[in-house]
Amino acid sequence: MVAIPSKHRSLTLLAAVLLAQMLMLAVQIKVDSRGRLIRVWAISAAYPFERSGAWGFGKVGGVWNHYFALRNTVQENEALRIENDALKLTISQLQTRAAEADRLAGILGFKQTHEQVPMVGARVIAASAGTASRTIEVDRGERDGIRRNMAVITPDGAVGKVIEVYRDTAQVLLLTDKDGGAGAMLVDSRTQGVVGGTGEPMIQMKYVANEDIVNVGEKIVTSGMDKIFPKDIPVGTVVESKSGNTFKQIRVEPAARLDRLEAVIVLLSQEPVEFKNSAQSAQSGSASNPSSAQSATPASAEKP
């Protein structure tokens, strides 16, 4: 026991007696709806300390957590990074699948709107290994009814033709290949010619006389004269036209995105396929030049 000096004894006693009576007051009194006064006092007295304590603990905890307790942070970061990479990969895969689904939906829709035309949807599984050729390999082959020289298209337009057929796969020669080509005609003038590749992303239209009028932006469709592509399948758009020695030099941007092919349609016959975009213009062109239209139509009726 700590002895209280005699001169402070009465003061201590006074403090104790006053405190006891204050507590007694607090026990008796109720303040409004806040309960007994002692509870109000206790809470009021404790509040600053509680607040200070909470602030202090929060600060200490924050300092500890942010500066000292970082023992597992590296591992956690690593795990999160791995998880993040996995999620990114998953998102990428999902986006790819979504895009693929869109493409397949487009092809499916195209097939459904052309039920009368025998065709097979195929997925591009490989492309030419070098820049010397422009070919793709699809996952459909002989078992699916695919034969050589069948036309390959997308809902956007002509792609190329089948050059080799295996049991379950087939190789397609694109229009952009130097050996690729198709019978074509200008939609407005119905002037016929041949489109072929140069190994570049753009294709050329050949054998159009210098005297013929070719406008930049004019659409080109298949003529059906090659006995491969049905008539009036979009081929591309004229982006440049200038006179050559005998024939015009016409550069054409392909209608189908030949550099980003992932799914294609192999036409099993040469029956006409109607394309929404080109059909109207082609028909209007035919109306303006019926003679050329008549000359092209019969040749496209052959089935494989």
Partner: protein, 175 residues
Amino acid sequence: MNDAYELYSGETHIEVHKFYPGAVVLMAVAALVFQATAPVYFPRLNILDLPLLVTIYFGLSRRNPSTGLLLGMVIGLAQDALSGPTVPLGFYGIGKTVIGYLASSIGARLDTEHPAARFALIFGFFVVHQGILVIVRRVLLAQPEAWINVHLAIAAAVNALLGTVLFLALDRLRR
């Protein structure tokens, strides 16, 4: 508590008084009973605070702070108990405890036998006592209460006058 003795403080000496057995208790009870009953018949007597006067008197006479504050506490709590349920226990107790302590402490240092000194001390203690009651009511009980008014000064003067007379009578209880 039978004999008076002298309390030496430096070169001066102050006498500590003793009272007949039971005198303190008797006077305290009498003051409380008077305070509780007299205003019923004579409402104007409500201005008096006899328990406070008794506390001051015995505090000044006994000159022991511990005894003085304990006596003030007992008288104050008893006054609380007799004041009805609207007055919480401790209300007058706190005030009279402080006054008992102050009276005893001052009585141990000053000669409080002169009537003028007693008048002044009673007046001052009354004001302090009322101040403590106001503080308790406003701060501890959170109840509205006026700080200072004319009634306080009048009550202090009346109690000081009565106390001065009463103290002379109480002096006769000393041994």
